[in-house]
C-alpha cells in the first residue's frame, strides 16, 4: 500500500529538513567567518586534541626559543669580554705578553717598573672585564649570578692558628665533629682522639690479609680501616692527621709579601689586613689558595656546578635529577676562563747554562689575573734605575711566573675557543627552534584552518540547498485541491 502523504506529515518533514538545511548553511558560514575547521571538541575531538597538543608544543618551543635567544646574547657578551681579555693577555702590542717579553729582555730592564705598573693595571682590567654583566646578571659568576664573581682581598696565611699552643691547632683540618676516638665515637678533643698506628704489627698484618682477600675477590676478611668491623685492631684514623707544617709564622693572620719557595714560606707576614698582599678571590674563595677546602670549593665551581637552561634539547629528569644532556649549562665560571685556580710548583734554574747554578722550586699561581698581578708586583719591586730584581728569589719567581703566564695564556685561549663553539651551537639551536616552531604552526594551522576554496564552495552549495528548500516550502504551503475547488 502506498503511504498516505498528509499535509501535516509533509509539514513536519519539511520543518525538519529545512532546519537541517539551515544548520548546514550556518555551519558552513561559521567555517568561513572563523576560518576554522572546527570550533569545538565535539565537532572533531581527535583533531581538536591534536591541535591543542601542537599548540602547546608551539608555545613551549617559543618559550625555549626565548630562553635560548637570551642565552645567545649572554654568550655574545661573554665572548666579547673574553675577546678583550684575550687581547690584554696575548696580542703582539700592548698586552701582558708584550710587557712580559720586554721585561724578560735585559735591554729593557730599566722599563720593568713601568711595565710592572701596566701589568698590574692589565690584571685589574681583565678582572673588571670578567665582572661584566648581561642585564642584571653577572656573566662569569657561575650559578651565583647576583654577586660579583671576582674580588681582590687580603692574602690569608694558610698556616695561621689563633692559639698555637692549643694542641688542636696542630691538626690539619680538624673540623668539629670529624674526629673519632678509639671506640668509634666522634670527638673534638685531641686528647681523646685515636691516632693512626700504622706501624703496629697487628695492623700491618691485618691490612695485608685484607688486601690479599680483596685481590682474590673474597669478602671474608674484615677491613682493618673500618672500626665498625674491626674494632680490636689499632685503627688508621684518617680524620686526624698531624699538621707537620706548623711553624711560628702561623701566628700571623695575613701574608704581607711572601712566597713559598722550596716548600717554605719566605717573606713578611702581618696581622694588619690593610698591609696584606691583595690576591684574587672568586665568589669569596682565594683563587690561589693552597688549602684543600678552598681548592675543593673551586674544583666544584669549575667542574661540577651547573646552571641548566631548557633550550629544547628534550628536558628530562631521572631519579629526581635533571639529565645533563637534555639541557644547556649556562654557568660560566670566571676562574675557569682565566686559566683555573690554585698554584703550581715550578723549578727555576737561575742560569740554565750553568749546571751548578742555583735552583728554586716556587709555588706560583695558575690563574692569569693572579699571575699578571704578581708579575706586576715583582716588576714594580725592581730597581727603578737599572731594573734589577729586588732579590734573587723574586727574579726566580719572575721567571717561574713567566713560564706559567705562557701556559695559562694557552689555556685561556683554548677556553675562549670552547666558549666560541658553545656560542655557535646556541645560535644554530635558535634557528632549529625557529624551524620547529614554524613546523608546529604549519601543523596545527593545517588541522584547524579551513581550505578557503572548499569552505566557500561548501557554503555556496549549502546556501543553494537552503534557498531551494525555502522555495519548496512556499509551494508546499500554497498548493492543495482546496485551491482549485469551485462551487
Amino acid at each position: 500500500m502506498i503511504t498516505r502523504t498528509t499535509t501535516i506529515g509533509s509539514l513536519k518533514n519539511y520543518r525538519y529538513n529545512l532546519n537541517n538545511s539551515m544548520t548546514t548553511m550556518s555551519t558552513s558560514m561559521g567555517k568561513i567567518t572563523t576560518g576554522r575547521n572546527f570550533n569545538s571538541f565535539a565537532e572533531s575531538p581527535s583533531a581538536a586534541a591534536q591541535a591543542f597538543q601542537l599548540r602547546h608544543a608551539y608555545l613551549r618551543t617559543a618559550s625555549q626559543h626565548s630562553a635560548n635567544t637570551q642565552l645567545v646574547h649572554k654568550y655574545e657578551v661573554a665572548w666579547s669580554a673574553l675577546d678583550n681579555v684575550e687581547k690584554d693577555i696575548d696580542t703582539i702590542n700592548n698586552s701582558g705578553f708584550f710587557n712580559l717579553i720586554r721585561a724578560e729582555n735585559g735591554a729593557d730592564a730599566s722599563a720593568r717598573n713601568a711595565l710592572g705598573q701596566d701589568m698590574s693595571a692589565k690584571a685589574k682590567s681583565i678582572v673588571q672585564t670578567m665582572n661584566g654583566r648581561y642585564g642584571e646578571n653577572y656573566i662569569f659568576s657561575g650559578a651565583d649570578t647576583l654577586n660579583v664573581p671576582l674580588t681582590w682581598g687580603p692574602q690569608y696565611n694558610p698556616d695561621y692558628v689563633e692559639d698555637p699552643k692549643d694542641p688542636v691547632h696542630y691538626m690539619y683540618e680538624a673540623l668539629p665533629g670529624q674526629g673519632e676516638d678509639s671506640t668509634g665515637k666522634y670527638t673534638n678533643d685531641i686528647n681523646k682522639a685515636a691516632f693512626t698506628e700504622i706501624d703496629n704489627p697487628a695492623y700491618i698484618k691485618a691490612k695485608e690479609e685484607f688486601q690479599q682477600a680483596q685481590d682474590e675477590g673474597r669478602n671474608d676478611v674484615p677491613n682493618p680501616d673500618d672500626p665498625a668491623t674491626c674494632p680490636q685492631i689499632p685503627q688508621k684514623i684518617t680524620q686526624y692527621t698531624l699538621n707537620e707544617s706548623y711553624n711560628e709564622n702561623a701566628s700571623y693572620k695575613y701574608i704581607k709579601s711572601a712566597t713559598k719557595i722550596d716548600g717554605e714560606w719566605k717573606g713578611e707576614f702581618t696581622d694588619n689586613a690593610s698591609e696584606a698582599n691583595q690576591v684574587l678571590y672568586y665568589r669569596g674563595v682565594p683563587v690561589d689558595s693552597m688549602a684543600e677546602a678552598d681548592k675543593s670549593k673551586l674544583d666544584y665551581y669549575t667542574d661540577e656546578e651547573r646552571k641548566f637552561i631548557d633550550i629544547g634539547l628534550g628536558y628530562k629528569e631521572k631519579d629526581g635529577s635533571v639529565v645533563s644532556s637534555s639541557v644547556q649549562n649556562s654557568a660560566l665560571q670566571a676562574v675557569y676562563y682565566l686559566g683555573g685556580h690554585g698554584t703550581k710548583e715550578r723549578t727555576v734554574k737561575m742560569d740554565p747554562n750553568d749546571p751548578n747554578s742555583k735552583e728554586y722550586t716556587i709555588e706560583v699561581p695558575v690563574n692569569m689575573a693572579s699571575v699578571m698581578s704578581r708579575l706586576g708586583t715583582i716588576m714594580q719591586n725592581c730597581d727603578p734605575d737599572d731594573g734589577s730584581f729586588a732579590s734573587e728569589e723574586e727574579e726566580a719567581e719572575f721567571y717561574a711566573l713567566a713560564e706559567q703566564y705562557e701556559e695559562t695564556a694557552s689555556l685561556v685561549k683554548q677556553r675562549y675557543t670552547e666558549l666560541d663553539t658553545t656560542s655557535s651551537f646556541l645560535k644554530d639551536n635558535v634557528e632549529l627552534l625557529e624551524d620547529n616552531a614554524n613546523n608546529l604552526q604549519d601543523q596545527f594551522l593545517g588541522i584547524e584552518d579551513v581550505d578557503p576554496a572548499a569552505a566557500i564552495s561548501d557554503f555556496m552549495f549549502a546556501r543553494y540547498a537552503y534557498d531551494t528548500a525555502l522555495k519548496i516550502g512556499n509551494s508546499l504551503l500554497s498548493q492543495s485541491l482546496m485551491d482549485y475547488m469551485s462551487f
Binding site: 571538541f41 599548540r55 657561575g142 635529577s321 475547488m485
Partner: protein, 818 residues
C-alpha cells in the same frame, strides 16, 4: 414487503442527514488540522435495512435498503506505530537531554577557538595559563633571583587559579540549575500523570454512557507521548467489566522494564491503572553534615574500637539488616535477618552485605537552622545525592488507594454455606453468622484483605469465591530502571565516571539507608556534571600538590647530605651534614655506635623508601619522636637543625597557606606567595655555605620540568573521592594533557550523543510521519470529502424533489381525467 407512501422521503432525509454529518466531520477535521495530537475522524455509516419477513410475503417481493444511517464517528489510529514512536521518543529524549547538558558543560570547559585572538592564536584559556606558567618558570631559570620574574610566574598562577575557580563555580551553577530543572520536570511529569488519570476517568464515564470521547483520547495521547519522552513506558489497553455486561477499555501505563538486571522488578512499576494514577518523587534524605577535620563529631564513621574516623576504608563494618525482619515470622523472607549484596534477604551472616559503621557519637546531620544533630528525623530533608526516584502507590482522584484483586473460585460444602448463612449454634462457643459475603480484617503489615462470597447455584451447587485485595505500594526505583530524558537528567547530576564510589559499582554496600544502595556496573563509563567537576578538581589538586611538594624541603650540600648550620674554625657559618647515631653490631656481633647521614634523593615519607632505612635508625627515630609511630625523617630534620626552605605555592584559601583539600573551586595562590617571592631557586647550598648560590636555578628547573613530566592521575586523590573511588590510573600525562583529555572526553561524548540523537530523531520523525499518514488530516482528502458530501447532499435533495414530484403525480395526477 413494500414501502410506505412516505418511506422514500425518509430514505432521502437520512441521506441528507448523512451528508450533513459527513460535512460536519470534514469540517471538524479541517478545523483541527493544526491541533496538536488531533486524530482525523471518519463518519461511520451503515446502509439501513429493515429486516424480518412478512407473514404473507411473496417471493416476488423486493427487499430494498431504506437509506443510510450515521452510526458513529471513529478515529484512524495505528497502536503499533504509537508503541514504536514512544519507544523511539524515549531514546531521543534521553540523548536530547544528555546533549543539552553536555553542550552546557562544553560552553564552560571546551576552549577550542578560545583565547587571545592575537594573530589568530587560539591557545585556550586554562591551556594558555598552564603554558604561561611553564614559560615563566623557564624564563625564571635565566633570571633567577629577580623578583619581577618570580612575579610573572605568580601572575600566571593567579590567572590559572582564577580560571579554575570560575570554571568550578560555573559548573556548580549548571549543576544547581539542573537540580532545579529536574525537580520541575518531576513536578511536570506528575501533572501529566494526574491529567492522564483524570482523563481516564472522564473517558470511562463517557464510554459507560456510550460515547467515544475521541477528543479526550487525543488529549490523553498527547500527554502519553510527552510522558514517553521523559520515561520509556509500556502502554496497554484492557477491557474492564463495569457490570451489567458492559465493558469499557482501561489504559495501563507501566515502566517499560529497561533495567538490564533481570532480578530487578521495579523497572515495570505501574504509573497508571485506569482511574488510578501514581506520582513520582525524588527520595528525601537527612542532610549530611560536611566533614570537618578538626571536629571528630562530624566524622561519619567509627573504627573497630569505636573511635571516629573520616575514611570509609578505616571504618568497622557491620552486616546490612533486613528492614522487614520479623523475629516472630516462622519462615519466608521476613524471617531472615540480613540482606545480601543483591538486596535478597538471607539468614547467613557470612553472605550478608556489609556497610561501614556510623559514628555513634557523631552529629552527622544538619537541622533546618544549620545546627548539627544526630537525629535523622530532626534533620533537614534534602534530595538524595543519587537522585533516587520512587513511584508512589496508585490512587484515584479522591485519593482512594487502589487494590489489585485476585479472584479464586472453589467449591464449598453445604455446611460451610450454611455456617456462613446462619452461623453454628452448636459450636462451643457458637460461631455467629457472618453472612454470605465476608470481609477479612486488613493485615497490619501488608494491608492485604479478602472478600469471600458464598453462592448456591440454581442446580444446587455450592461455591466459594475469594477475592484477595492487595494494596498498591510505593516502588523505589533502581538506578537503571528508566530510559528517557528524566534518566538523562539523573545521570547528568550523579554520574562521575572513573570517580564513582566503588561500592556503587560493586554493589557491596546494599544499605537501605545508603543513597547508593543499588549496584551500577556501568557507572564507571557514565559521565555527568560530577565527572567534569571532579576532573577539574583532580587537575587543580594534583597541580597544587606537586608544585607545593617541590617547593618545600631542606637545604643540602652538593653531595646531597642534608645540612644544619655550624661554624668553621674561623667562626664562619658553614653547612654540616645532619646525622643520627644508632646502636648496631659489627660483623662479629659486638655492639658499636654507627652514624647514619640522611641523604637527599629519596622521599622519606614514601613507605617503600622508609622501609629501606636500617631498622636501628628507625628505632632511633622512634625513640626521639614525640608521637611514636608517626615519625618521619622530615620530622627529624625539622627538629634537628635542618634548614627548611620554601612553602606552599598554592593553598585552599588566599588568606592562608593551608594546602589541605584543594579543589578547583578553592585553589588559590598561597598567602605567603601573594606577599612576595616564594619559589625556592635551589635546595643545594653553595660551597661551604647554608644558602644556595644566588642564581642557582636547580629547583626552578625542576618546577618547570613538572609541567613536562607525565604522571599518573588517580581518581581517588581528591578530597571528595579519597577512600571511595578506585585506585586505578585514569590518565597518564602532563597537566596540560590531562586538561586536554577533559575536553577530548567531553567532545567525544558530545559527538557520540549527537550522532545517536540524530539517529533517534530521524527514526522518530519517520515513525511520526507514518503515524501521520494514518492519523493526520490532509487538505486533499478533506477537499475530496467536501466535494463528496456536497454532491451527496445535492443528490439527496434531488431525490427528495423527485419523490415529491412522483407523489405529486400519484396524489394529484392519478385518476384525473379531462
Amino acid at each position: 414487503m413494500s414501502i410506505g407512501t412516505f418511506g422514500s422521503f425518509t430514505q432521502a432525509r437520512l441521506a441528507i442527514y448523512a451528508a450533513q454529518n459527513g460535512m460536519q466531520v470534514t469540517g471538524n477535521n479541517i478545523s483541527n488540522i493544526n491541533t496538536v495530537g488531533y486524530t482525523r475522524q471518519r463518519l461511520d455509516q451503515e446502509s439501513l435495512f429493515v429486516g424480518g419477513a412478512d407473514r404473507y410475503s411473496s417471493k416476488y417481493d423486493l427487499r430494498i435498503g431504506q437509506g443510510v444511517l450515521s452510526t458513529g464517528v471513529s478515529q484512524l489510529r495505528d497502536p503499533y506505530l504509537d508503541i514504536r514512536y514512544r519507544d523511539e521518543t524515549a531514546r531521543m529524549g534521553q540523548m536530547e537531554e544528555k546533549l543539552k547538558t553536555l553542550n552546557k558543560i562544553a560552553m564552560i570547559l571546551d576552549e577550542t577557538g578560545k583565547g587571545v585572538k592575537n594573530e589568530g592564536e587560539d591557545f585556550g584559556l586554562i591551556a594558555a595559563d598552564l603554558a604561561d606558567m611553564e614559560s615563566a618558570l623557564r624564563a625564571l631559570t635565566t633570571e633567577t633571583g629577580h623578583q619581577e620574574w618570580d612575579n610573572q610566574v605568580r601572575a600566571a598562577a593567579v590567572s590559572l587559579c582564577a580560571k579554575l575557580n570560575s570554571y568550578a563555580a560555573r559548573l556548580q551553577a549548571d549543576y544547581d540549575a539542573k537540580v532545579k530543572e529536574t525537580e520541575e520536570k518531576v513536578s511536570e511529569i506528575n501533572s501529566w500523570l494526574t491529567s492522564i488519570r483524570d482523563l481516564n476517568e472522564s473517558i470511562r464515564n463517557f464510554e459507560i454512557h456510550g460515547q467515544d470521547a475521541l477528543e479526550l483520547r487525543d488529549t490523553r495521547n498527547v500527554l502519553i507521548d510527552k510522558l514517553a519522552k521523559e520515561m520509556h513506558i509500556d502502554v496497554s489497553y484492557v477491557f474492564e467489566d463495569v457490570g451489567g455486561g458492559e465493558q469499557v477499555s482501561k489504559l495501563i501505563i507501566k515502566l517499560a522494564g529497561d533495567n538490564p538486571d533481570s532480578s530487578v522488578t521495579s523497572d515495570s512499576a505501574e504509573l497508571i491503572n485506569g482511574i488510578y494514577g501514581s506520582q513520582i518523587s525524588i527520595e528525601q534524605v537527612p542532610q549530611a553534615r560536611p566533614v570537618d577535620r578538626e571536629d571528630k563529631t562530624s566524622w561519619p564513621y567509627q573504627d573497630i574500637n569505636g573511635n571516629p574516623v573520616m575514611s570509609r576504608d578505616e571504618a568497622a563494618r557491620e552486616p546490612v539488616k533486613n528492614p522487614k525482619f520479623d523475629a516472630n515470622a516462622a519462615d519466608g523472607p521476613n524471617s531472615l535477618q540480613y540482606l545480601d549484596k543483591n538486596g535478597v534477604p538471607t539468614g547467613d551472616i557470612t553472605k550478608a552485605a556489609t556497610k561501614p559503621v556510623a559514628n555513634a557519637n557523631g552529629l552527622l546531620y544538619l537541622k533546618p537552622d544549620g545546627t548539627a544533630t544526630n537525629d535523622p528525623e530532626e534533620a533537614k530533608q534534602v534530595n538524595n545525592p543519587n537522585f533516587n526516584l520512587k513511584v508512589s502507590e496508585l490512587r484515584d482522584s479522591r485519593e482512594k488507594l487502589m487494590f489489585y484483586t485476585d479472584k479464586k473460585v472453589t467449591s464449598c460444602t453445604p455446611a460451610e454455606y450454611s455456617l456462613a448463612l446462619k452461623g453454628d449454634p452448636n459450636a462451643t462457643p457458637p460461631v455467629p453468622a457472618a453472612g454470605l459475603v465476608q470481609e477479612s480484617p486488613r493485615d497490619p503489615n501488608t494491608g492485604v484483605y479478602t472478600i469471600t462470597v458464598y453462592q448456591k447455584s440454581a442446580k444446587g451447587e455450592f461455591t466459594k469465591t475469594v477475592y484477595t485485595k492487595t494494596p498498591s505500594k510505593e516502588t523505589p526505583l533502581d538506578d537503571n530502571d528508566l530510559t528517557g530524558a528524566l534518566q538523562s537528567m539523573r545521570e547528568m547530576l550523579t554520574e562521575a565516571g572513573e570517580f564513582t564510589d566503588r561500592e556503587i559499582v560493586l554493589g557491596e554496600n546494599n544499605n537501605p539507608n545508603d543513597p547508593y544502595r543499588n549496584a551500577d556496573e556501568t557507572a564507571l563509563t557514565k559521565r555527568g556534571i560530577p565527572y567534569y567537576q571532579k576532573s577539574l578538581d583532580l587537575l587543580a589538586n594534583r597541580l597544587a600538590a606537586v608544585l607545593n611538594e617541590a617547593n618545600k624541603g631542606f637545604m643540602m650540600d652538593s653531595n646531597g647530605n642534608y645540612i644544619q648550620k655550624g661554624t668553621d674554625k674561623d667562626g664562619n657559618e658553614i653547612g654540616i651534614p645532619i646525622s643520627i647515631d644508632y646502636q648496631t653490631t659489627d660483623g662479629k656481633g659486638n655492639p658499636i655506635t654507627a652514624q647514619y647521614t640522611f641523604k637527599h634523593g629519596t622521599d622519606w615519607d614514601d613507605p617503600d623508601v622508609w622501609d629501606d632505612l636500617p631498622q636501628e635508625v628507625k628505632d632511633e627515630l622512634a625513640k626521639i619522636s614525640t608521637e611514636p609511630g608517626t615519625e618521619t625523617v622530615k620530622e627529624y630534620l625539622k627538629h634537628n637543625g635542618g634548614i627548611e626552605k620554601g612553602g606552599n605555592l598554592f593553598s585552599n584559601n588566599g588568606d592562608s597557606n593551608d594546602d589541605t583539600d584543594i579543589t578547583a573551586s578553592n585553589i588559590s595562590v598561597s598567602y605567603d606567595w601573594s606577599k612576595g617571592p616564594l619559589i625556592v631557586n635551589s635546595f643545594v647550598a653553595d660551597q661551604g655555605k647554608t644558602e644556595a648560590a644566588s642564581g642557582d636555578s636547580e629547583n626552578i628547573l625542576h618546577l618547570m620540568g613538572l609541567f613536562t613530566t607525565k604522571r599518573d592521575f588517580y581518581p581517588d586523590s581528591i578530597p571528595s573521592t579519597t577512600g571511595k573511588a578506585n585506585h586505578d590510573i585514569m590518565f597518564n600525562g602532563t597537566f596540560k594533557e590531562m586538561w586536554n583529555n577533559v575536553g577530548f572526553t567531553l567532545g567525544q561524548d558530545q559527538q557520540v550523543t549527537g550522532t545517536l540523537l540524530e539517529t533517534h530523531e530521524e527514526n522518530a520523525l519517520q515513525i511520526d510521519t507514518a503515524r501521520d499518514s494514518v492519523s493526520a488530516v490532509d487538505f486533499n482528502d478533506e477537499a475530496m470529502n467536501l466535494m463528496m458530501y456536497s454532491k451527496s447532499y445535492n443528490a439527496a435533495c434531488r431525490l427528495m424533489t423527485t419523490i415529491d414530484s412522483m407523489l405529486d403525480k400519484l396524489i394529484n395526477g392519478t385518476g384525473m381525467t379531462t
